[in-house]
């Protein structure tokens, strides 16, 4: 076989020469244009996980509550009474960096389809967003577009957006992150898998017609670094239509309820190619698809375009021949498209036909599982590789520092964004109303809580991933992300059932991002093993780089937990004048990787190693106290340290506090570490002094007054709650 020429089409499609040779070997000939297009997408990083799959084998995926694990459209855990909760987080980073509104909107649309593809009704969306600093016009443009896009899709389809987080850091300036998590509820006996089965069964394409939008999105956008000229990639961004998806969603759930489908799969990256390929691979069968039967938006589309189009709002189902008419009739009722486009075969091959003529013919094994998996060449960087930019003067007073932290866009209330989302539809979202405070959504809530009356209980959901801290130490930082979610759930009295994750990293072919990815996955595995929380699904997004280098390594962790009674939850805000305030947990505050260190331009490598077992024990104590109704308020200590946690608890209700941090100084903390140091394991509780002491918490002061007053040895901080609130609510675009 002759070596491919320098201008070979396979290189333009992102395949290496060696990969092309391997395809030729597996086919016994050179692929034709249709086949090459299909291989290039399924062998892309986005679809094949070729740089991450080996590392992901470290993650624990087993657990007694796991109903569905990795490999299906979404993972699911048992929540009792025959019900399961399905969830998954996925990225849509590069499309959002090119066109934020549609990129974010279709990110939400895609993750929704993953959830209803297994027969679960979506009941909640959470988002994890990362942008550059807000003083950049580009960052404001991306933030505004992404928030509007998420709202547009979620609000229109009637699924509440119940939580999320947004961080602003310079390394995301060029390559923002848009990760969307969806949670669904299913009757376990109505859930469906993606594996195609039953030779002779029909393959039915449902939903929107197929157009030229999003062709090559998986390879062109998702599996290469961003650079100049990205505007020219706009045609590879898909356009979303939430109304179409709303109809497809209802239609699919009704089809499953009536038992009309054998299996179901959504069409995402790489369109029909990946859906048909993965369904055939999972079922150990073959599939024939006739592209002439696919309903098109444009009449003159080529077979390869039809096979790789990423047009949104489409689902692929396997249906017994006798039930095809009933399926088509139900699609008609919901006014959504449906066409029988193929058949399940015993050939073990994906065959593409046009009006009966074969235009592509590949073994499923080669197409779906044949891509080589690569080892990384990780190397730890010798020093901090990202910029350090000081925005807070070194001689700033502690009051100035506290106000600057509260007003920092990453810490400040994200109410500006969350008010653009329907957080209520579905009537499950628990909302705490604080006496004397505003009857608004609880901005500082640690976890979202949704009632599940079907199972007689409730779930709590948290999502987290502080890229800056992961950059300081990918191993410890990733453990912290898991612990942060666990702590957030504990604040709601919830015990973790399962975890999903989206690993957003730079170019894995470069040594530093490779090292970050390797260490982060080890940290994730370590934390999950120690906490006994299985990973039920996830997503990897690599090549997140701009001209200045890689993004902060950002493993976004989403955890779903269970709680018996959402009616007894304490809020995050101080509730009663005179209540004691106490610190609980193995909190060892450090300025390493903290928001204060960032603002001072003092970031460097290294984080203290978290004590997972001690944090887990503190979470268990808090969980028990919450369920027993012993706490008036509970809030976990996170960004901005203890001082910010105290201020947030005061802002929520308008009740101030008087606190003395001397006990922390006696343990060896400096004043700044006690006030602003960060690290896992700390909770701020308020309630009756004797109750808090029985929990083993360290009483630091009491609720009262209209100022946040914190003493720390010789130093003290005193700011009016109103001033703290103004700083904290200052975020808008």
């Amino acid at each position: 076989m002759s070596a491919p020429a320098a201008s070979s089409p396979h290189r333009e499609l992102g395949l290496t020469d060696a990969e092309f040779e391997l395809i030729c070997e597996k086919l016994g000939r050179e692929p034709n244009g249709v086949e090459l297009a299909m291989f290039s997408l399924l062998w892309s990083e986005h679809c094949a996980y070729k740089h991450s799959r080996k590392l992901l084998r470290r993650l624990p995926t087993e657990g007694e509550r796991v109903v569905m694990g990795p490999g299906e459209n979404a993972g699911a855990v048992d929540i009792g009474e025959g019900y399961a909760v399905a969830f998954k987080v996925e990225s849509h980073n590069h499309p959002s960096a090119v066109e934020p509104f549609q990129g974010a909107a279709t990110g939400v649309g895609g993750i929704l389809r993953d959830i209803f593809a297994i027969g679960a009704r979506p009941i909640a969306i959470l988002d994890s967003l990362r942008f550059g600093e807000l003083d950049s016009e580009r960052s404001r443009f991306l933030l505004d577009g992404a928030v509007r896009g998420i709202g547009h899709y979620g609000n229109s389809i009637g699924v509440p957006t119940v939580g999320g987080e947004i961080y602003f850091e310079a390394p995301y300036e060029h390559n923002c992150l848009v990760n969307a998590m969806c949670v669904g509820l299913a009757r376990q006996d109505e859930m469906v898998r993606a594996a195609a089965a039953g030779v002779g069964n029909a393959v039915v394409l449902m939903g929107a017609s197929t157009g030229r939008d999003g062709i090559g999105g998986a390879s062109v956008l998702a599996s290469a670094e961003l650079g100049d000229g990205d505007e020219a990639k706009r045609p590879t961004v898909q356009i979303g239509d939430p109304f179409e998806e709303a109809k497809v969603l209802e239609c699919c759930l009704e089809l499953l309820e009536k038992g009309l489908l054998v299996s179901l799969q959504d069409l995402g990256a790489a369109g029909l190619t990946s859906s048909a390929g993965e369904m055939a691979s999972a079922g150990g069968v073959g599939i024939d698809i006739d592209v002439a039967k696919v309903p098109l938006r444009e009449v003159d589309m080529e077979p390869f375009e039809i096979m790789v189009s990423e047009s949104q709002e489409r689902m692929l189902a396997v249906v017994e021949p006798a039930k095809v008419d009933a399926v088509l009739a139900l699609c008609e009722k919901w006014q959504t498209g449906a066409a029988e486009i193929g058949v399940v075969t015993d050939s073990g091959r994906i065959r593409v036909l046009r009006n009966g003529d074969v235009v592509g013919d590949m073994p499923v094994e080669a197409l779906v599982d044949g891509c080589p998996l690569y080892d990384l060449s990780p190397a730890e960087p010798e020093e901090w590789i990202y910029d350090n930019r000081a925005t807070l003067a070194g001689e700033a007073s502690t009051e100035e520092a506290l106000l600057a932290l509260l007003a920092s866009p990453s810490i400040a209330s994200k109410r500006w964004a969350f008010e653009q989302y329907d957080s209520l539809v579905g009537s499950r979202t628990a909302r705490r109303r604080v006496e004397g405070g505003e009857a608004a959504a609880d901005d500082a809530a640690d976890a979202a809580v949704l009632a599940i009356p079907e199972a007689g209980n409730a779930i709590a959901i948290a999502i987290d991933g502080n890229g800056r801290r992961v950059a300081c130490d990918p191993y410890a930082g990733t453990i912290e992300a898991v612990l942060e979610c666990t702590q957030n759930l504990a604040c709601a009295g919830a015990e973790p059932l399962g975890l999903t994750n989206c690993l957003n990293f730079g170019n894995p072919e470069k040594p530093t991002p490779a090292w970050q990815l390797d260490r982060a996955i080890s940290g994730l595995a370590e934390a999950c093993e120690a906490l006994g929380g299985p990973v039920v699904g996830g997503n990897v997004s690599l090549y997140n780089e701009g001209p200045e280098g890689p993004i902060y390594p950002t493993p976004v962790v989403g955890v779903v937990g269970e709680l018996p009674d959402p009616g007894v939850l304490p809020g995050g805000a101080f509730a009663r004048e005179g209540d004691a305030i106490a610190l609980l947990g193995p909190f060892k505050p450090s300025l390493a990787g903290s928001e204060l260190a960032k603002q001072r331009g003092e970031l460097r490598m290294g984080l203290p190693q978290p004590d997972i077992d001690a944090v887990a024990a503190a979470c268990a104590t808090v969980r028990g106290a919450v369920r027993a109704g012993k706490l008036a308020s509970v809030h976990d200590i996170s960004d901005g340290g203890l001082a910010c946690a105290l201020a947030e608890s005061a802002i929520g209700s308008g009740l101030g506090c008087r606190v003395d941090l001397s006990p922390l100084l006696e343990r060896g903390c400096s004043v700044e570490e006690a006030l602003f140091g960060e690290g896992s394991g700390g909770f701020v509780l308020s309630g009756q002094r004797t109750e808090l002491e029985l929990l083993g918490a360290l009483v630091l002061g009491e609720v009262g007054g209209n100022a946040v007053e914190i003493g720390a040895g010789e130093a003290s901080v005193s700011i009016a709650v109103e001033d703290a609130r103004s700083a904290w609510l200052s975020l808008s675009v």
């Binding site: 509007r148 709202g151 547009h152 609000n155 229109s156 389809i157 009637g158 239509d241 939430p242 109304f243 179409e244 709303a246 109809k247 209802e250 919901w334 006014q335 969350f418 008010e419 653009q420 989302y421 329907d422 957080s423 209520l424 539809v425 579905g426 009537s427 499950r428 979202t429 628990a430 909302r431 109303r433 505003e438 009857a439 608004a440 959504a441 009632a451 959402p566 009616g567």
Partner: protein, 228 residues
């Protein structure tokens, strides 16, 4: 009490409305293609984005077979409650005066607001003159969420003067809480006969203390109480 909740493709809050109605009686969905409403005592046109709301909010739904039947039901004096998109549909159908425009700040907004009840909650539809037990003095306030992108109530000044004079303004946003720039802080209006009510806030999302408030239940109870 038998409630019918109209369901269009693109409705979002129909299940929530069904649940809220179910707290005060029986409730079932009515498919948008059904010309026959069946045996119902009151109709709810729920929130959402009927038919995608692509032309203009509510502009397509008003032509649906179910809405033809709802229009006849309303003309015969049957109580009709339109919530959010349902309010937009009722305005488009000419069953209520005025129109809903894009929010002043051009953004979707989801927020708990206080509503001032003009008259009392009980003065809904055929209940005119009937007061609910604990609203005897002064104006009453209900805490109910709004969530919409096109909720800015508007009508020409002469129409506004007329509906104010006839007592057709049902709810106003409390001072300083108008979330969308609605003219004269109007959050909900009645028709002249009093049996058709539309409002942008979502009473069906305020029927359980766990999810934020129970004040919206009062509106459903008032209708059910009158028809019982």
């Amino acid at each position: 009490m038998r409630w019918g909740v109209v369901q269009f493709p693109g409705s979002c809050d129909e299940r929530d409305a069904l649940h809220a109605c179910g707290l005060t009686g029986e409730a079932r969905l009515i498919w948008h293609e059904d010309r026959d409403l069946g045996q119902v005592d009151a109709i709810v046109v729920p929130g959402g984005f009927s038919y995608g709301d692509y032309l203009r909010a509510g502009a397509i739904a008003r032509f649906s077979p179910a809405m033809e039947a709802v229009t006849e039901f309303a003309a015969a004096g049957g109580p009709v409650l339109g919530i959010c998109n349902g309010f937009q549909v009722l305005c488009e159908a000419g069953l209520l005066p005025g129109a809903l425009l894009r929010n002043e700040e051009l953004r979707f907004i989801c927020r708990q607001v206080d509503l001032i009840v003009e008259g009392s909650v009980g003065e809904f539809g055929p209940l005119s003159g009937t007061k609910v037990a604990d609203s005897s003095e002064g104006s009453e306030t209900l805490s109910i969420p709004v969530k919409h992108g096109e909720g800015r109530y508007w009508a020409p000044d002469d129409v506004l003067d007329e509906i104010e004079a006839k007592g057709q303004v049902a709810y106003r946003y409390a001072p300083g809480q108008n979330p969308n720039g609605s003219v004269r802080d109007i959050a909900g209006v009645r028709n002249e006969a009093g049996n058709v009510l539309g409002l942008m806030p979502h009473p069906e999302h305020a029927v359980d203390a766990l999810t934020g408030s129970m004040d919206g239940l009062r509106i459903f109870e008032a209708v059910a109480g009158a028809r019982a």
